[in-house]
């Protein structure tokens, strides 16, 4: 495994760190209360190229590989205190922009990617439905071909970025007789007749990443709106989710470092009973666990980036990355609150906000429970083939196993 960055990528990561002064971190708590998507900060992310991070340069992106992507997003997590903003970026990148870059025709790429990369457009993914969450193939939204285009009917929910999105990547059933293989993917521009964005859905945290329902009522799209081929909707979805699970929590690598550092500093300075609270075992144990989680999460994230660079990632490997980072996020957020005592529970330090944000990480992009199912399922498969327990070496690309 090789996590080294070349000079260009290293310089890019430094440019991301320099965003620190422009992210108005002191107002992150107020933005949490307002629940508004910070357009000006989105523009700041775009100025350094984060809104087009994995997109080839010819379409306006940075063309970052997997390891460089993790490094850049981890740097963002170090300097950005707005988890909602970083989640909105993740949804935009991995569930909409990246699939267009990967599966779009040149015409679709030319139409959408420059704007998605330069921050003038925001992307969203409309996949989840009332009765189809983790079971994404259970959707009932339909797309009927009319001879000249497509007509969509149905309703999506929990669509991150929906209130501010300009283009929606939508999954719909195109052949009800073929189950998961009868689903296709479409690009639906905001403002299309028959496409309606509902009122924002209230949630516990990640308030600067707005979420809403999106409904399609006789929504007419041209033939050019089809992404990939007819019937490839679920493979595209699975591929997009695999990439998303590798990268959507990469900013948390930086957040975990910050939480461990801040808590360690506080525990060393806060005195009770005549000595720093870090000298009490119960507190120092938490600091140790936080530092270990920060390190293991970093390793998991870079492993995921490296796997992406090999071009071969299995869904269960991406599930491991997502599961580990999301669980570490919540555990360390809770530990940080505990180390800081009353100050942690109060809103002044933003640590209780961190807990609310981290709870979301265990639900979006597939719950922790579904990630465990994916991971276990792959292990059971190996067992049937008689290779149970050996598992593939972490350092071996899947193609060579």
């Amino acid at each position: 495994m090789d996590f080294a960055l070349n000079e260009v990528a290293d310089a890019y990561v430094h440019s991301v760190r320099r965003l620190s002064a422009r992210l108005r971190n002191d107002e992150a708590g107020a933005r949490d209360l307002d629940g508004c998507f910070p357009r000006d900060l989105w523009a700041e992310l775009a100025k350094v190229g984060l809104t087009g991070l994995p997109v080839p340069a010819e379409y306006g992106g940075q063309g970052a590989g997997g390891v460089a992507t993790v490094a850049a997003l981890a740097a963002l997590g170090e300097v950005c205190h707005d988890n909602g903003l970083m989640f909105a970026l993740g949804a935009h990148l991995w569930a909409c922009t990246d699939p267009i870059a990967t599966y779009g025709t040149d015409r679709q790429r030319q139409r959408w990617l420059p704007g998605l990369c330069d921050g003038t457009l925001v992307g969203a993914h409309a996949a989840t439905e009332a009765e189809a969450g983790s079971d994404a193939a259970a959707i009932v939204t339909t797309a009927r071909h009319t001879g000249t285009g497509w007509v969509l009917n149905g309703a999506k929910t929990f669509v991150t970025n929906a209130p501010v999105a300009d283009v929606f990547l939508v999954t719909a059933v195109t052949d009800g007789s073929r189950g998961a293989m009868g689903i296709s993917t479409f690009l639906a521009p905001r403002g299309t007749t028959g496409l309606t964005v509902g009122t924002p859905i209230g949630k516990s945290g990640l308030h600067s990443a707005p979420m809403a329902e999106v409904s399609f009522d006789g929504c007419e799209l041209s033939d050019d709106a089809l992404l990939g081929t007819v019937g490839a909707g679920m493979p595209i979805f699975t591929s997009a989710m695999t990439r998303e699970r590798l990268f959507i929590l990469a900013p948390v690598v930086g957040v975990l470092r910050r939480l461990a550092d801040d808590s360690g500093r506080y525990a060393g300075q806060r005195r009770q009973f005549g000595r720093p609270i870090a000298e009490f075992g119960a507190v120092s144990d938490r600091i140790a666990e936080m530092r270990m989680r920060a390190t293991s999460a970093e390793l998991f994230a870079y492993w995921g980036g490296w796997l992406a660079d090999t071009g071969r990632v299995r869904p269960d490997q991406a599930a491991m990355v997502k599961l580990h980072l999301s669980e570490a996020f919540l555990a360390s957020a809770l530990d940080a609150v505990q180390v800081h005592g009353g100050h942690g529970y109060a809103t002044e330090l933003g640590l209780e906000r961190m807990v609310r944000d981290a709870m979301g990480a265990r639900a979006y992009s597939g719950t922790s429970d579904i990630q465990r199912n994916l991971i276990a399922r792959a292990g059971v498969r190996f067992g049937r083939a008689g290779t149970a327990g050996r598992g593939p070496s972490l350092a071996t690309p899947v193609a060579d196993r």
């Binding site: 990967t102 599966y103 994404a136 193939a137 052949d175 073929r178 189950g179 998961a180 293989m181 009868g182 990939g228 081929t229 007819v230 019937g231 490839a232 679920m234 493979p235 595209i236 979805f237 699975t238 591929s239 695999t242 071969r312 299995r314 869904p315 994916l374 792959a378 498969r381 049937r384 083939a385 008689g386 899947v398 193609a399 196993r401």
Partner: protein, 94 residues
């Protein structure tokens, strides 16, 4: 590759073995004919098709992208064999 049938039967037998060993096929081996519908009979689902594509890339050195993972290419052992053969021919042609 498909002219003498050697590769064709190899691919189909390979995949048949994978379905029995890895996917835990519970039916009679004879039922798993070259034309048995793997999608309609829920032998393959959307996730196993993705995992399957890795196997095909690894064993037959063909490039498989998500847009290839459609019903027409994966509904039976015969369809998978034809898909692999077509991909190999495309690779040679390019």
């Amino acid at each position: 590759m498909s002219d003498n049938g050697t590769k064709t039967s190899s691919v189909q037998e390979d995949i048949r073995r994978y379905i029995i060993d890895e996917l835990g096929w519970a039916g009679e081996r004879d039922t798993l004919t070259d034309s048995y519908n793997l999608i309609d009979n829920q032998v393959l689902d959307s996730l196993s098709v993705v995992e399957f594509s890795v196997l095909l890339e690894q064993r037959y050195h063909v490039e498989v992208t998500a847009v290839d993972l459609v019903y027409e290419n994966f509904h039976s052992l015969g369809a998978i064999d034809a898909f692999v053969t077509r991909k190999q021919q495309q690779a040679v042609a390019s």
